[in-house]
């Protein structure tokens, strides 16, 4: 079962990695690439967060976003990004 569609990371890969390293969401992301695809994690972020959280056993650090948001948060074409005038 696919969890991260962009990077095609499965539930099994994520749960096995999370179980082995008992890591935080960010590390789980870096180890599997889940959440690092072209949608910027818009689709899978809550699931990656939940899986990591079920294994690392820590109280969720409620005072911090566990997975960072990086701009641009919406797709921009290379033309617009490079300010290429038609």
């Amino acid at each position: 079962m696919i969890i991260c569609r962009c990077e095609e990371v499965t539930y099994k890969q994520l749960t096995e990695t999370a179980e082995k390293y008992k890591c935080a969401s960010r590390e789980l992301k870096l180890r599997t690439r889940a959440g690092m695809g072209y949608c910027g994690g818009r689709t899978c972020r809550t699931m990656v967060d939940n899986i990591a959280h079920s294994f690392n056993g820590n109280e969720r650090d409620c005072a911090q976003l566990t997975l960072k948001y990086q701009p641009p948060i919406r797709p921009i074409s290379f033309g617009d990004l490079g300010d290429v005038k038609k």
């Binding site: 539930y11 699931m47 409620c62 005072a63 911090q64 641009p72």
Partner: protein, 408 residues
């Protein structure tokens, strides 16, 4: 530069724009969608008093009122980044850059997915997508659908689908996994339904009270919940069955369901196939706060508000100067609460800009939010008020830290 900028043309953003324009300030609203109204557009249901809440009509009224007051509303414009340079907020879209000293984020909420084997097949969509297709674009998502995830939103949308002549085969639970722990646990789901049912749209109330009346069911929890569900507007709501797979060769052809124990374990040998040509996934809502994160707002995870929310106070000010929030970005609630928060944010902006003293009006607007919340007919989390109190507590902590820093 004197212009106030609002990101999001939902009920919160539009109400704020109206309030600000009424007080004589220039306002620009940016929204990535092609119609103003946000998530209000898709809403259509009967309130307990018998009135119909028609989101398209409500949106149009807000939109036209804002335009009449001279508000500029620019649609098809996605904001991709934000930063603060000197004392102004810099807002980036694909083609343009805007500057303002007062920026309101009213970006609303988004849906959380529930993964189920087969959920990447064409024909599987979020329940909100089915709502927008049906109520906004007037396109049937299919002829017969299965909704996975039992909550206030999915039941409201099931009714909307049925009104549009789309058959809903059933509303049922997802197979339990680490991602669906809460939404796949029958006991959990039933408890949260019982808590919110007294507030929800009328037919939903009937469903809730039908259960409530049966005292032993409450006590025994889910054990005696009928295997084939309880019907609401002829749609079976199943709390003792779960979808274990969505099947189909190139697109959705149906789902495989199985009976589950009160704690959500699949009972082997009970699998059955249910035909459907579309499947809706209803994993619940969480605040869409990407821009607040990019801007550098502190965040808190508050379950009762739907997830991570940017720290803010009752006046809708964030911890960053000149940055405000209103609507579902501050926690998941109905459209009327979002609109009342928009008014409060608007007044704070007018006040902080030095245009006119709004102290009294702000106080009143804050009370108004409370009042709207108490009378809301749709409530997404039973303990939303406690969630708001937690946030207020974090805000006070934040103020003390700031004081200490200044003191040193």
């Amino acid at each position: 530069m004197s212009k106030v900028i609002i990101i999001g043309a939902g009920p919160a953003g539009l109400s704020a724009a109206i309030t600000i324009a009424e007080n004589g300030l220039e306002v620009l609203v940016l929204d990535e969608y092609m119609i103003a109204g946000g998530r209000l557009l898709g809403q259509l249901y009967e309130e307990p008093n018998g009135n119909w809440w028609n989101g398209i009509k409500e949106s149009k009224q807000l939109y036209e009122k804002a335009l009449d007051l001279g508000v500029k509303i620019q649609l098809h414009t996605a904001v991709s980044n934000l930063e603060k340079i000197d004392s102004s907020w810099v807002i980036y879209t694909a083609t343009e850059t805007y500057y303002t000293s007062h920026l309101l984020l009213a970006t609303g909420a988004t849906e959380a997915p529930l993964p189920i084997p087969g959920w990447t097949l064409p024909g599987v969509m979020s329940v909100g997508a089915a709502q927008v297709m049906t109520n906004v674009h007037r396109v049937k998502p299919g002829n017969r659908g299965v909704i996975i995830g039992v909550n206030v939103l999915s039941s409201a949308i099931a009714m909307e689908l049925q009104l549009a002549g789309v058959q809903v085969a059933c509303i049922t639970l997802p197979k339990m996994s680490l991602v669906t722990k809460e939404s796949g646990n029958p006991m959990n789901v039933m408890n949260s339904l019982l808590h919110v049912s007294h507030m929800a749209p009328s037919a939903f109330v009937k469903f809730g009270s039908k259960l409530m009346k049966i005292e032993f069911m409450k006590k025994m929890g889910i054990t005696f919940f009928p295997k084939n569900g309880v019907k609401m507007w002829d749609i079976p709501i199943m709390l003792r069955k779960a979808v274990i797979e969505i099947y189909g060769d190139n697109e959705v052809e149906g789902v495989t369901m199985a009976t589950i124990s009160p704690t959500g374990e699949v009972i082997p040998g009970t699998e059955e196939k249910v035909q459907a040509d579309f499947v809706c996934i209803a994993g619940g809502l969480y605040p869409l706060a990407e821009l607040a994160a990019v801007a550098g707002c502190p965040f808190y995870h508050i379950e009762e508000l739907g997830g991570y929310v940017p720290l803010h106070n009752e006046r809708m000010e964030t911890a960053l100067e000149g940055l405000y929030v209103a609507g579902n970005i501050t926690g998941i609630e109905g459209a009327k609460v979002a609109a009342s928060q928009g008014v409060a944010a608007g007044l704070s902006i007018v006040h902080n800009n030095g245009t006119s003293n709004q102290e009294q009006n702000i106080k009143k607007a804050i009370q108004d939010i409370e009042h709207t919340r108490d009378n809301a007919f749709i409530q997404f989390h039973p303990a939303v008020k406690e969630g708001k109190q937690k946030l207020q507590h974090y805000w006070e902590e934040h103020l003390n830290t700031v004081k200490d820093m200044v003191g040193n």
